[in-house]
C-alpha cells in the first residue's frame, strides 16, 4: 500500500512535466501539422539553458528558470522562421525530415558544446525530503510539481482567454477562414511554435535538476510527447494534461511492478494500442483545440 502511494506521488510529479511536454507538442502538431522531432531537443535545450544561466553565470535558481523558458521561446521562434516558414505548403513527410535534421544538429551541437559528461544543477531547496506518514517527497520535486501546474494553468488561460489564443484556435479550425478574418497566420505559426518550445524548455529546466542533464536526455522526450498527444487527442490541452499523467502512471507502475528495464516501453505500447483501437485519442470528441 505504501509502495503504491509512493508510486502515485511520483506519478503526479513526473506527470505534471510530461503534461507540459504534451501541451507544447499538441499545439504545434495540432495547429501547424508539423511532426516536431526537435521537441525533445528543446526540452534538453531548456535544461542546458538553466545550467548555463544558473550554474555558469551564477544567477539565482528561480531567475535562471525564467530565463531558460524565455530562451526556449526565442529558440522556437528562430527554428520556425528559419526552417519551417520556407517549407509552408510542403507535405507532412518533408517537414518531418527537416525537423529530424534539426534534431540531429541540435543534439550533436549540445554534445559538441557541453561534452558527453552529464551535468547536475544544485538547487536552493533543503536536502532532507518532506515526510508525510510513510511517504517522502523531496522539496525540489514538490516545487517542480507546483511550477508545472502553474504553467499548465497559464497555457490554458492563454489559449482560452486571450486574443492570441482565440486566433490560434481559429487557425486550428480553419486556416483559410481565419486568414480571411484578418488573422496573421505567419505570426500565429511563429507564436505557436515559440509557445510550444518554451513549454518543452520549461519541462527540461524543471526536470534537469531532478535528474542529470545530458545531450541524450531529449531522445525519448519527443516520442513520449507524441504518446501523450495521441492519448489525449490532437489539439486538446485538457487531453494532453490527462495524457501526461496517464503516461507517467503507466511508466511508474510498469517500472515498479513489471520491470524497470521496460519503463520506457510503456509509452510505446500505449501509442500502439491507442492508435490501433481508438485513433482519435481517449478524450477527443472531435478535433478541436482548447
Amino acid at each position: 500500500m505504501t509502495e503504491l502511494l509512493q508510486h502515485i506521488v511520483n506519478t503526479l510529479i513526473l506527470g505534471s512535466t510530461y503534461a507540459l511536454l504534451g501541451i507544447g507538442l499538441t499545439l504545434i502538431f495540432g495547429i501547424m501539422r508539423v511532426v516536431n522531432f526537435a521537441h525533445g531537443e528543446l526540452y534538453s535545450f531548456g535544461a542546458y539553458a538553466l545550467y548555463f544561466v544558473g550554474v555558469m553565470l551564477g544567477l539565482n535558481f528561480f531567475l535562471a528558470l525564467i530565463v531558460a523558458v524565455v530562451l526556449g521561446c526565442f529558440a522556437g521562434a528562430l527554428i520556425e522562421v528559419v526552417l519551417l516558414r520556407p517549407m509552408r505548403g510542403a507535405d507532412i513527410d518533408t517537414t518531418m525530415l527537416v525537423m529530424i535534421g534539426a534534431m540531429i544538429v541540435m543534439q550533436n551541437g549540445e554534445q559538441f558544446v557541453w561534452g558527453g559528461v552529464a551535468k547536475s544543477v544544485s538547487t536552493p531547496f533543503p536536502e532532507l525530503p518532506l515526510v508525510i506518514g510513510s511517504i517522502s517527497v523531496s522539496w525540489l520535486r514538490l516545487f517542480v510539481f507546483c511550477a508545472a501546474l502553474a504553467l499548465i494553468g497559464v497555457s490554458y488561460l492563454l489559449i482560452n482567454r486571450t486574443k492570441l489564443g482565440k486566433a490560434m484556435r481559429a487557425t486550428f479550425q480553419d486556416r483559410d477562414a481565419a486568414s480571411l478574418m484578418g488573422v496573421n497566420i505567419q505570426f500565429i505559426y511563429m507564436a505557436t511554435f515559440a509557445i510550444g518550445s518554451s513549454l518543452a524548455a520549461a519541462a527540461g529546466a524543471l526536470l534537469g535538476p531532478v535528474y542529470v542533464i545530458s545531450p541524450q536526455m531529449g531522445n525519448l522526450a519527443s516520442l513520449k510527447a507524441f504518446a501523450i498527444v495521441i492519448l489525449g487527442g490532437l489539439g486538446s490541452i485538457g487531453g494532453a494534461t490527462i495524457g501526461g499523467f496517464l503516461l507517467a502512471l503507466a511508466e511508474e507502475l510498469g517500472a515498479g511492478y513489471v520491470s524497470s528495464g521496460y519503463r520506457d516501453a510503456m509509452g510505446f505500447l500505449i501509442i500502439i494500442v491507442v492508435l490501433l483501437f481508438k485513433p482519435t485519442g481517449l478524450f477527443a470528441r472531435a478535433e478541436r483545440i482548447g
Binding site: 534539426a102 550533436n108 554534445q111 516520442l223 516501453a265 510505446f268 492508435l275 490501433l276
Partner: protein, 344 residues
C-alpha cells in the same frame, strides 16, 4: 545507352576489390553496401507506396539478431518454466531464417499499422522499433542485453559433395554483399514492374481513386511490407555475420534516419536512388573523418539532410534523368503545378 548503365555500374563495383587494397575503405564499401540494401528495402515502402516507416531499423535488427542466434544457438526459459534449447545451425540457415522472420514481422506490423496513415503511421512504426530495441536490451538471457552477442560466425555456404565456402576476408564479404544487393535489386525491380507495383504506385498517387477502381489497398501495402521487411532482415543478417558482434544499438533511430536520407537524397521511387544516395551518405563519414570529430560529422550530416530536402526534394536521380532526357524543354510543368497547389 541508358539500358547499359546498370551493367557498367555493376562491372565497376565488381572490380573494386581488385584494385582497392586499403582495408579501411573496403570496410566502408561493405558497410555502405549493407546499408544500401536496407535503404533499397525502405524505398519499396517509402518510394513506391508512399508510406514513411521510421521503424525500419526494427526489421534490420530482427534479421541480425535472428540470424546470429540461429547460428550461435541459445538456451532460454520462457514464462511458465518452458525451456527452449537451440543447438547452433549452419550460418546460411541463419540468413534464410533471419530473412523469413523479418518478413513475418513485416506482415504482422503491416497488418496492424496500415489502419492509420500519415503522421500516425510514422509514430506507430517508431514505437514498434523502440519496443523491439527495449526487448533486445532487457531480455538478457536471449540477447546478452548491452553486453552484445559476440563471436558470431562468418557466413559459410555448403555445397554437398563439393565442399564449402566461408566468408572470412573482406574481399569475399564484399562480393557477398554485392551479390545480395544485386538479387535484392532484381527482386524489387520485378515487383515494381509487375501488376503489384502498378497497384502500389496507383495507391500512392491517389488512394481513394485506387480503392474506387477496386484495388485492395491493404493487401498490396502488406505485400510491400513483407518484401521490404524481408530484404531489410537479409541486410541485417549480413551485418551481423560481417561484424561478428551485435548489440541493441543496431535498433538505433539514427540507422533508420540514415536509410531514409539515403532514399530521399538519391530519389525515392527510383531503383537507382538508394544506391546513389547510399554511396554519398555512406562515404561522408569517410571523407569527413580526417578533419572532423564525430559530433561535427553528425552536425554536417543533419545540415546536409535539411539542405537536400530544401534544394532537391525529389532527389538526385530524377534531377539527373530530367537533365539528360529533356535539355531543351522550355516549359517546365512541375513548378506550375506546384504553384497551383500553393494558392490558398
Amino acid at each position: 545507352m541508358k539500358r547499359l548503365v546498370p551493367y557498367i555500374a555493376l562491372a565497376a563495383f565488381a572490380s573494386v576489390p581488385l584494385w582497392l587494397h586499403d582495408p579501411y575503405l573496403l570496410n566502408a564499401f561493405i558497410t555502405t553496401g549493407i546499408l544500401i540494401v536496407a535503404a533499397m528495402s525502405l524505398n519499396l515502402l517509402l518510394g513506391y507506396t508512399g508510406q514513411l516507416s521510421l521503424g525500419h531499423v526494427a526489421f534490420f535488427g530482427i534479421g541480425a539478431y535472428t540470424s546470429a542466434l540461429v547460428s550461435l544457438g541459445f538456451d532460454v526459459e520462457l514464462i511458465g518454466g518452458i525451456r527452449v534449447v537451440h543447438e547452433p545451425w549452419p550460418v546460411w540457415t541463419g540468413f534464410v531464417i533471419g530473412t523469413l522472420v523479418a518478413a513475418l514481422c513485416g506482415y504482422a506490423v503491416g497488418k496492424l499499422s496500415f489502419k492509420v496513415r500519415g503522421a500516425y503511421f510514422v509514430i506507430v512504426t517508431i514505437s514498434f522499433a523502440e519496443v523491439v530495441r527495449l526487448v533486445a536490451l532487457n531480455w538478457v538471457e536471449l540477447t546478452q542485453g548491452p553486453l552484445a552477442l559476440t563471436s558470431i560466425p562468418p557466413m559459410t555456404l555448403g555445397f554437398p559433395g563439393v565442399g564449402y565456402l566461408d566468408f572470412y576476408s573482406k574481399q569475399s564479404n564484399y562480393y557477398l554483399v554485392l551479390a545480395v544487393l544485386v538479387v535484392s535489386y532484381i527482386v524489387i525491380q520485378r515487383l515494381v514492374y509487375s501488376r503489384v507495383g502498378r497497384a502500389m504506385i496507383a495507391l500512392k498517387e491517389n488512394e481513394s481513386l485506387a480503392v474506387s477502381v477496386g484495388i485492395d489497398v491493404t493487401r498490396y501495402l502488406v505485400l510491400a511490407a513483407i518484401f521490404s521487411a524481408g530484404i531489410a532482415g537479409a541486410a541485417g543478417s549480413l551485418y551481423a555475420h560481417y561484424l561478428k558482434i551485435i548489440d541493441p544499438d543496431v535498433f538505433a533511430f539514427l540507422y533508420t534516419v540514415t536509410m531514409v536520407i539515403m532514399v530521399i537524397s538519391g530519389g525515392k521511387g527510383t531503383l537507382a536512388g538508394p544506391i546513389v544516395g547510399g554511396l554519398i551518405f555512406g562515404f561522408i563519414p569517410v571523407a569527413a573523418r580526417s578533419f572532423a570529430t564525430p559530433e561535427i560529422q553528425w552536425i554536417l550530416y543533419g545540415l546536409l539532410m535539411i539542405i537536400i530536402v530544401f534544394v532537391l526534394p525529389k532527389g538526385i536521380v530524377p534531377a539527373v534523368e530530367k537533365w539528360f532526357s529533356a535539355p531543351n524543354t522550355s516549359v517546365d510543368p512541375e513548378p506550375l503545378q506546384a504553384k497551383m497547389h500553393d494558392t490558398p
